[in-house]
Subunit: 174 residues, 2 copies
């Protein structure tokens, strides 16, 4: 069903029936200008996409798994708020919310080891995302390892399984 409505007395706009959820008055076939009570149209725009992420569950924050686009190795886990999400989308570089420093955090802002976004995945509950990235500098961990997950459980203790890629003292010096 096609529906026409009168918009501020200026334009007659045609809306797809599926976008009209409630109609206080249906216009006649002769397109008499009347008001319709409409719910927001579900046009897929930036705003709609963002509301699909459930930031409420984690008190405004949402965990992001960062995974190497080529090797599929998990590099780190960090958190985003809406601002970090928007900055990531706008720049194509991974941004997070630093819980320890309570500020927006461009990954690589000190080390220049930026994470270039190749793909973004969303989970079934809309409360976790994956950034598939190209890790610049070859290492994500501030301790110099390729991945922050450089330890594995062996018996009752964790052992280091990887070799560091860079010297943190060298990379983070001012």
């Amino acid at each position: 069903m096609d529906i026409f409505y009168h918009d501020c007395g200026i334009n007659l706009r045609k809306i797809q029936g599926e976008n009209v959820r409630r109609a206080g008055l249906l216009p006649t076939r002769e397109m008499v200008p009347v008001f319709l009570v409409l719910e927001p149209m579900e046009t897929p725009d930036r705003e709609t996409m963002m509301t699909e992420l459930n930031f409420k569950k984690g008190g405004g924050l949402l965990p992001v798994i960062v995974q190497d686009y080529s090797s599929r190795e998990v590099l780190m886990l960090a958190y985003i708020n809406k601002e970090a999400w928007e900055q990531t989308i706008a720049t194509g570089k991974a941004h997070f919310w630093s819980r320890s420093r309570s500020k927006l955090w461009l990954k690589g802002e000190s080390s220049r080891h930026y994470q270039i976004i190749k793909e973004i995945l969303l989970d079934c509950d809309e409360d976790t995302v994956i950034y598939l990235v190209e890790q610049q500098g070859g290492a994500a961990c501030h301790k110099g390892y390729r991945s922050c997950f450089f330890r594995r459980l062996r018996g009752d203790d964790f052992e280091i399984k990887d070799e560091p890629v860079f010297d943190p003292a060298e990379v983070y010096k001012k």
Copy 2:
């Protein structure tokens, strides 16, 4: 240096020097019973291992990334408390804390799609772990997909990129 100390007037115990951090009084070579002020011994036991995980940061919960041991595909993200962690270690099957149901959750308790632990990784901040698992039933997501991350960002919206492996209505029927 070997140090001997008198334990409650009953046993004389020998302790490796490296475990003795502070000594109020050092016993003589003749093993005169005195008290030593000792910090907890760093023997790698179950208790020590658990305290390495930082449950405090997330209010008692800690995120777990579940990854397929063979393909390295990220299957899901869930949370553990200490009990879920202990049950995972004790049984070799992934246990979590269900935030929505507020209860211990053996993954697969309804679907029988258990996650068999192959390896466990720990991150640099001790506040995230990875379970590398063999996913029984071929699918981790309650919506029937292999991974919960079955959607990817395309333009301004998310699109489904995978095919379901099972029919949830069939698997979760009572």
